[in-house]
Amino acid sequence: MTANSPSEVKIEVEGLNFFYGPVQALFDVAMRIPARQVTALIGPSGCGKSTFLRTVNRMNDIIPGARIEGKVLIDGRDIYANGTDVVTLRKKVGMVFQKSNPFPKSVFENVAYGPRIHGAAARPALAEIVERSLRRAGLWDEVKDRLDASALDLSGGQQQRLCIARALAIGPEILLMDEPASALDPRSTARIEDLIGELRRDYTIVIVTHNMQQAARVSDFTAFFYEGQLIEFGRTKQIFTMPREKQTEDYITGRFG
């Protein structure tokens, strides 16, 4: 289950077991996610890929009855160790949700939300961060004249890119994306995929997708989950052309899922 990963490992998971109350959702997952690469998590519905994603920024903490065993190490430090500051963790690990959730505020206020929460207050500093993030997310040209308009008035694809800009504004090193394009039309999806390709240069990206073609197009590494277990992890090319496990091959060729 190990892959020939390049030099730097950003996220390392050891013996991860996850429970929603009495129900176990992840079984003994071990993985090493490389830095500044795109890793895709694929698998049928309910296989635990979203649950796994959310353990990386401890978003499962807010679910009552959620329990975790094992270690999740980012840059070598276990984020579930006692005394970990979750706020600092979430500054380092940004998240984009499946259904885009722009705040009912202006475009500017949305992107400035993160920096402001963390203490940046001066308007010129915020304006600079907002512009930079919107440019990064490929949305600046479309919204630069309407920064004070409500974010809810943007189209679906624009809203999702806004959420990406919002996540980028806090300066994370890792970006977690939970099926970021599943609610979008093909053209918006293509834009998001191009964006992921560009962002890869500076961020470690982990993306959950149920769309295998997307995984094949966009990612460098792929992890296949099935019923809470990590079945196979490796370079995307290898997974899609010469999968080692039969289950992986069955899923990829569409025999189930």
Binding site: I62, V87, K91, M95, N101, F103, P104, I117, R166
Partner: protein, 283 residues
């Protein structure tokens, strides 16, 4: 009967019920206005009662009721909102919290005279505030608290979870999330609760009977420890205890009209404030 006819029949039934309610309210208001307007004069509104209330004005009662309502809201709104935030956002949802909610809802059904007795025992006697605006306001606050908590909690619940998650994922603390991304959008609902609360606080007689109200006090309060006249109590006395009930009937209606205008005025103010927040925090 055909389906379309049945449907139309039910719509008319529901329409009728709604119109009936509106008509009933309109009748009450018009009746009070018709009989009360003749009694309204500058002297009535700004003067002090004379001859045991048969003549003169009701200024002390107006001031008294205003103080009590303001006091009740000042005491109940923060406590109510804080409780709602705790119940909705922080408390672990288990048997204890369910019992707590049951207690709050039960409190809403407690008869107001019982609240009056409670206020007498706790604020007037035990804490030694005596019959005062303080005792009256606190008693009224206890009475309107359940309404405020319930409507505030509903308003908080209505805010989608995705907003909270989005904020937390950006590294905000729970309180920051609530303050920046939940509270603004629940303000209109919370104000609704306070509108209902104001009406009740202004109009209830039993709680203030035992804790603050004086029948004849021809001077204005100077501190929260003073006793005070109040509009609903004044109306009650004029209508039942006065030796010459018929003679003071215009005063009764005048008092009722003033009370109505006061409550409607405050409600209108809160409604305006609510619209402002609805527009500002559109979601």
């Amino acid at each position: 009967m055909s389906k379309a006819r049945t449907e139309r029949a039910f719509f008319w039934l529901m329409r009728g019920a709604t119109y009936f309610i509106v008509l009933a309210i309109a009748y009450i208001i018009l009746d009070i206005v018709r009989h009360g307007l003749p009694a309204i004069s500058w002297r009535f509104l700004t003067g002090f009662p004379q001859k045991s209330g048969a003549e003169g004005g009701i200024l002390p009662a107006i001031v008294g009721t205003s103080c009590l309502v303001i006091g009740a809201i000042v005491a109940a709104l923060p406590v109510g909102m804080a409780s709602a935030i705790y119940l909705s956002e922080y408390a672990r949802q288990g048997a204890f919290v369910r019992t707590l909610r049951l207690a709050i809802v039960t409190l809403a059904g407690v008869p107001s005279i019982v609240f009056g007795l409670f206020g007498l025992g706790l604020f007037v006697l035990f804490l030694g505030f005596g019959a005062s605006i303080l005792s009256g306001s606190l008693t009224l606050a206890c009475m309107i608290l359940p309404t405020i908590i319930v409507s505030s909690e509903e308003a908080l619940r209505a805010v989608p979870q995705s907003l909270r998650e989005g904020s937390l994922a950006l590294g905000a603390t729970k309180w920051q999330t609530i303050y920046e991304n939940v509270l603004p959008y629940s303000l209109p609902g919370m104000l609704t609760g306070s509108i209902l609360g104001v009406g009740r606080a202004a109009g209830e007689t039993a709680p203030i009977l035992l804790t603050v109200a004086a029948f004849f006090l021809p001077k204005l309060p100077r501190s929260v420890f003073d006793q005070v006249m109040a509009l609903p109590y004044h109306l009650y006395i004029l209508a039942t205890q006065h030796p010459d009930v018929e003679k003071v009937r215009p005063m009764q209606y005048g008092t009722a009209l003033v009370l109505l205008v006061l409550v409607l005025g405050v409600s209108l103010g809160a409604i305006v404030l609510r619209s402002h927040f609805r527009r500002k925090y559109r979601w």
